[in-house]
C-alpha cells in the first residue's frame, strides 16, 4: 500500500529582523510504506529542519505534509501525532535524566492509552525486547546506560506509540562504530518485522548505503538528487552528489583522485547564491547556472531517478573526478557553442 507524503515546504527561520534563513525551500518528497529513505546532506542542508517539519516540531512556512493523503501541517490531533515519531541524534541529551526507562514508557503508554493500565508493564518489556534490551533495563536511569543503549531506549520510546513512520535524525553519529551496527540492525529489523517506514537523516554516506532503499540528497535547502541507493552510487547525476561521494573516505583509497572533491566552504543559507545554489562550487558551472535555477527532473528513461542540474541528463554521465569533469565541461562548452566562465580560478588543482 502506497502512501504519499508530498510536501512543499519553505520553512523559514527568523535570523535577524530583516534576514531570513531559507532552511528548506520548495522540497517535494514522497515516501512509500515500508521504505527506508535516506535523507543526506551536510550541515546547513536543511535535512534536520525538514525532518522536524514532518514530525510536527516545526510548522512549515508554506506547503504541506500529507500523510495518507491527509494534510498534517495544521495542528495535529493526538491520534495523528502518534503515527509519526522521531529519534534524535544525541542519546545523552534526549532522555530525561530523572526518569527511569519504565517511567518514560509508562508515561507514554498511559497518556495515549495504548494498552490497559494493567498491561503497561508487560508492554514496556516487549518494547525493550524489540530493540534487543532485556527487562532488567526497565528500572535504570539514563546515566547508567551507554550511548548505544540510550539510543535503543530512544527507539523503544518512539515505538511505544506504535507509529507507522519513524524519523531517525542522525541516530548513530554520536556512537562508536561497533555500536552503530547494532542500532542500524535494529532499524532494519523493525522495518522487516513491523513494516515500519523510516526516514533516516544522516550525513554519513556509508550508513545510508548499507541501510536505505532510496536516497534523497539535499544542498542548502533544496533537493538535488533522489533515486534508489545503488543507482545513486553507480550513476550519480548531480555534481554535488558526485562531489559528496568522492569526498567520502573508503577502505580502498586507490580509486580516488588527487584533487579535493569540492572547493571552498558552503555559502550562507541567509543569502543563497543565485540560480543553482551549488554553482559557485561546481566544476561544471556555466553562465546558465548562475541565472536559472534547475528543477528536479527525472532522466529520459529513468523515471525514478531525479536530479536538479542543467547538465544532469546530457550525453555522458558525470564522472566523479574533477579532471574528467573539467574535460567534460570543455566538451559541453564546444557543444553549446559558447564559453563557460571559469568559476573559482583561485582553487588549487
Amino acid at each position: 500500500m502506497h502512501f504519499p507524503l508530498r510536501r512543499k515546504i519553505s520553512a523559514v527561520l527568523r535570523h535577524r529582523p530583516c534576514d531570513v534563513v531559507h532552511a528548506v525551500d520548495g522540497v517535494d518528497l514522497a515516501v512509500s510504506r515500508g521504505e527506508i529513505v535516506g535523507l543526506v546532506g551536510e550541515s546547513g542542508s536543511g535535512k534536520s529542519t525538514l525532518a522536524r517539519c514532518v514530525v510536527g516540531l516545526y510548522k512549515p512556512t508554506a506547503g504541506q505534509v500529507l500523510f495518507h493523503g491527509k494534510d498534517l501541517t495544521a495542528q495535529r490531533t493526538r491520534q495523528e501525532r502518534r503515527r509519526i515519531q522521531i529519534v534524535f541524534q544525541d542519546p545523552y541529551a534526549s532522555l530525561n535524566p530523572r526518569m527511569t526507562v519504565r517511567q518514560v514508557l509508562r508515561e507514554l503508554l498511559a497518556t495515549h492509552q495504548i494498552v490497559p493500565r494493567a498491561q503497561i508493564g508487560r508492554r514496556s518489556g516487549e518494547l525493550l525486547g524489540l530493540v534487543g534490551l532485556g527487562p532488567r533495563f526497565l528500572d535504570v536511569y539514563p546515566r547508567q546506560l551507554s550511548g548505544g543503549q540510550r539510543q535503543r531506549v530512544s527507539i523503544a520510546r518512539a515505538l511505544a506509540l506504535e507509529p507507522e513512520f519513524l524519523i531517525a535524525d542522525e541516530p548513530v553519529s554520536a556512537l562508536d562504530v561497533s555500536v552503530q551496527a547494532t542500532i542500524l540492525n535494529v532499524l532494519i529489523g523493525l522495518r522487516d518485522r513491523l513494516g515500519l517506514t523510516i526516514l533516516l537523516v544522516t550525513h554519513d554516506m556509508a550508513v545510508v548505503r548499507q541501510v536505505s532503499d532510496r536516497i534523497a540528497v539535499m544542498y542548502l535547502g533544496k533537493l538535488v538528487e533522489v533515486t534508489e541507493t545503488e543507482a545513486m552510487f553507480s550513476d550519480p547525476r548531480h555534481p554535488y552528489t558526485c562531489a559528496l561521494l568522492a569526498a567520502v573516505p573508503t577502505l580502498t583509497p586507490e580509486r580516488k583522485s588527487e584533487a579535493a572533491a569540492v572547493i571552498g566552504d558552503p555559502p550562507s543559507p541567509v543569502h543563497p547564491p543565485s540560480g543553482c545554489r551549488f554553482h559557485p562550487r561546481c566544476p561544471l558551472a556555466a553562465p546558465l547556472c548562475s541565472e536559472q535555477e534547475p528543477s528536479l527532473v527525472p532522466g529520459p528513461d529513468l523515471p525514478s531517478h531525479l536530479a536538479s542540474c542543467h547538465f544532469a541528463w546530457t550525453a555522458a554521465p558525470i564522472s566523479r573526478s574533477a579532471e574528467e569533469g573539467h574535460a567534460m565541461r570543455s566538451q559541453l562548452e564546444s557543444d553549446n557553442g559558447g564559453s563557460a566562465h571559469e568559476v573559482g580560478d583561485d582553487r588549487h588543482r
Binding site: 551496527a181 542500524l184 569526498a247 573508503t250 577502505l251 580502498t252 579535493a260 572533491a261 566552504d265
Partner: protein, 332 residues
C-alpha cells in the same frame, strides 16, 4: 625519529587510579604518517598527550620512555619540554571552537608560537603568519588574519589550528581527530591538505581517529588500540589484507562501507570495558569469538607475524584464516 617504548600513564582522581594506557610501544619514522585507531576510551588521545606533555591534571607517566632523536622526554625537566613542544612536536586538536581562544584574532594566535619559541619580531611574525595561512589554503589571508574564530567556518578554523601547529616549524605533527564533526567534503579538503603539507614540509604525522577509512586515505602504517593497549600494528595494506587480531577484524567488518553495496552489518558483541576495572589477561577476551581459557590471564606482548606487522593475539593464525576466507565470526 620518535620511539615510544613501554609507555604507561596513570591518572589519579580522588581515590581512584586509572591506567588509560599501558605498555604502549611504537615507532615513527621521518616523513611518515602513522595512524592510531580505536574507539572512544581506548587511550589514543592520552597517548598523544603523553608524548607532547599535556596530560590532564592528576595524570603522569609512570613507566616507559619517549625517545625523540635519542633523548628521553619522560626524563626531561619541564623547561626542556617547553622547548620541545611546538619546536619539534606540535598538536592539532579535535574541536577548533574549544581549542582556539575566542577573544584573540587568529593571526595573533598563530603568531604566538613563533614569537615565543623562535623569537620572531612582530613584523617578521606577521609575514610568516600570512604566508602560513596561504600554505594551509586559507583564501584572502591578509584580510582573514584579523578575524576572530567565531567569524570563520569549521573548515577554516581547523586550517587555523593546523597553521598554529606548523607555526614553530615542528618536525612531528600529532593530530587528535581533527576532522571529527566536520562535513565530509570539508574533511576531504583537510585530509588532502595534510597530505600536501607532509610532502612539502617533510613532516611526520601521528593521526588519531576512530575511522579506519580516514586512515586508509592518509597513513601508510597504523596501530590499533583497545582498552589502553596496542593490539595490532603494521602497514595499512598488511593490516587490512590480513588482520591478525580479532578486534581489528571485527572493526573492519562492523563499519558500514560506502564502497560496497549492502552486505549486512556485524556488530561486535558485548560492551567496551570499564577502564576502572579492566578484564584480566587479554582485555578483548570477554568479547572475542576466538577466546580460549589462556586468554583470560597473563601478558600478551606484540609478536611479529609478518614484515613490520605485529599482533597481541595468541590465536592470530586462526584470525588471519577467518579474514582470508571472508568469514564472519560469531561468538557463541
Amino acid at each position: 625519529m620518535l620511539e615510544v617504548q613501554d609507555l604507561t600513564v596513570e591518572i589519579r582522581s580522588g581515590r581512584s587510579i586509572v591506567r588509560p594506557i599501558e605498555h604502549i610501544s611504537f615507532a615513527l619514522d621521518a616523513n611518515e604518517t602513522l595512524g592510531l585507531v580505536g574507539e572512544s576510551g581506548c587511550g589514543k588521545s592520552t597517548t598523544l598527550r603523553a608524548i607532547i606533555g599535556l596530560l590532564p591534571r592528576g595524570g603522569r607517566i609512570v613507566g616507559g620512555r619517549i625517545l625523540l632523536d635519542g633523548r628521553d622526554l619522560v626524563k626531561e625537566r619541564r623547561a626542556e619540554l617547553q622547548r620541545v613542544r611546538g619546536r619539534s612536536v606540535a598538536m592539532v586538536f579535535q574541536d577548533p571552537m574549544s581549542a582556539l581562544n575566542p577573544l584573540m584574532r587568529v593571526g595573533e594566535q598563530i603568531a604566538e608560537g613563533p614569537r615565543a619559541v623562535l623569537g620572531y619580531s612582530r613584523g617578521h611574525a606577521r609575514e610568516w603568519v600570512a604566508d602560513l595561512m596561504r600554505r594551509v589554503g586559507i583564501p584572502d589571508p591578509e584580510r582573514r588574519v584579523n578575524a576572530y574564530p567565531y567569524e570563520l567556518s569549521g573548515g577554516l578554523r581547523q586550517r587555523i589550528m593546523i597553521a598554529i601547529a606548523l607555526s614553530s616549524k615542528p618536525k612531528i605533527l600529532l593530530c587528535d581527530e581533527p576532522t571529527t564533526g566536520l562535513d565530509v567534503t570539508i574533511q576531504d579538503q583537510i585530509l588532502k591538505l595534510l597530505v600536501k603539507l607532509q610532502d612539502e614540509e617533510g613532516l611526520s604525522i601521528i593521526y588519531v581517529t576512530h575511522d579506519l577509512a580516514v586512515i586508509a586515505q592518509l597513513a601508510r602504517r597504523l596501530a590499533v588500540m583497545y582498552a589502553g593497549r596496542i593490539v595490532e600494528v603494521g602497514s595499512v595494506r598488511d593490516v587490512f589484507a590480513a588482520p591478525s587480531h580479532p578486534y581489528t577484524l571485527a572493526l573492519l567488518r562492523c563499519a558500514p562501507r560506502a564502497d560496497r553495496a549492502r552486505t549486512g552489518l556485524t556488530p561486535i558483541g558485548g560492551t567496551p570495558p570499564d577502564m576502572m576495572a579492566p578484564p584480566s589477561g587479554c582485555r578483548f577476551h570477554p568479547r572475542c569469538p576466538l577466546a580460549v581459557d589462556e586468554c583470560a590471564s597473563g601478558d600478551f606482548p606484540l609478536v611479529t607475524v609478518g614484515s613490520a606487522h605485529a599482533t597481541a593475539c595468541i590465536r592470530w593464525e586462526e584470525c588471519a584464516q577467518y579474514a582470508h576466507k571472508g568469514l564472519v565470526m560469531v561468538r557463541e
